[in-house]
Symmetry: C2
Subunit: 155 residues, 2 copies
């Protein structure tokens, strides 16, 4: 994927580092980000926070927020990205949470995904709705996260 290569090159040229917190995509975003040789200069790691426990343990999300949202909300994505950035001590962090299906999570139907990007200055969160099979939705969400990163970071 040309976009991933460009993103990694750009971050490397600017000496910027990146980390990730992934829930519904289960590691696919990290897999994409590490496809390019030399990505280790930029990408420091990720946590696949596939349980509420992991979201709480690694990124200190309040138990009450996790119980209310079952881990899927704009606020969860925002806090994951912000705290991921601090935990990994990276310049940028990206997070993905959502309902991969087959069941809805609270009021969110399968395919509903929140993607957040945190820098020292600002955190943005975007909501998307993907369609298709579980696998297609998960892959689309990971690819869209690359797109969100590029929109923030590439000229």
């Amino acid at each position: 994927m040309v976009l991933i290569k460009r993103l990694i090159q750009k971050l490397r040229a600017k000496s910027l580092t990146l980390s990730a917190a992934e829930s519904c995509t289960g590691g696919y975003l990290s897999y994409l980000l590490t496809q390019t040789p030399g990505s280790s200069h930029v990408f420091k790691g990720a946590v696949v926070v596939y349980s509420l426990q992991a979201k709480q343990q690694f990124f200190f999300l309040p138990k009450s927020l996790l119980e209310t949202t079952q881990g899927v909300s704009k606020q969860v994505a925002r806090l994951l990205a912000q705290n991921c950035r601090k935990t990994f001590k990276t310049d940028i962090a990206v997070s993905i949470v959502g309902a991969a299906g087959p069941e809805s999570v609270k009021t969110f139907k399968p395919g509903t995904v929140f993607i957040a990007v945190a820098t020292s200055k600002k955190t943005i969160v975007k909501k998307f709705i993907f369609k298709g099979t579980r696998d297609a939705m998960r892959k689309a969400a990971a690819k869209r996260a690359i797109g969100v990163l590029c929109a923030r970071l590439l000229p």
Copy 2:
């Protein structure tokens, strides 16, 4: 992948939980493990320890061992699996470290991979050498980790 589904079903039936520490595969193993709906009952999460810093920070690997090995050795895989199991408080943990290429890591040529599986009773570590492109080697390593888990856990 039928094997993944069988593995998740088996672990769920036995009420066993699983976590992962991935280096060279960059999240692809976690992506495979979470392909099956309901995998969240079994798979609690993973850390993509794509830097020496992450291996030290999340799983307490000695700095001296990481510097000597550059993160690729039987002992690194063993400690990652054992400490991943403790960190996630899961019954089983699997780890993958290796040289994804294009460069060798110390004496290990691209394609050299160590896979470890830790339970409360025992930790096993296996060495593999994969051939092909960077992507093919990474995918093969993640799939082989599923195979190692199945060999340990399926009847």
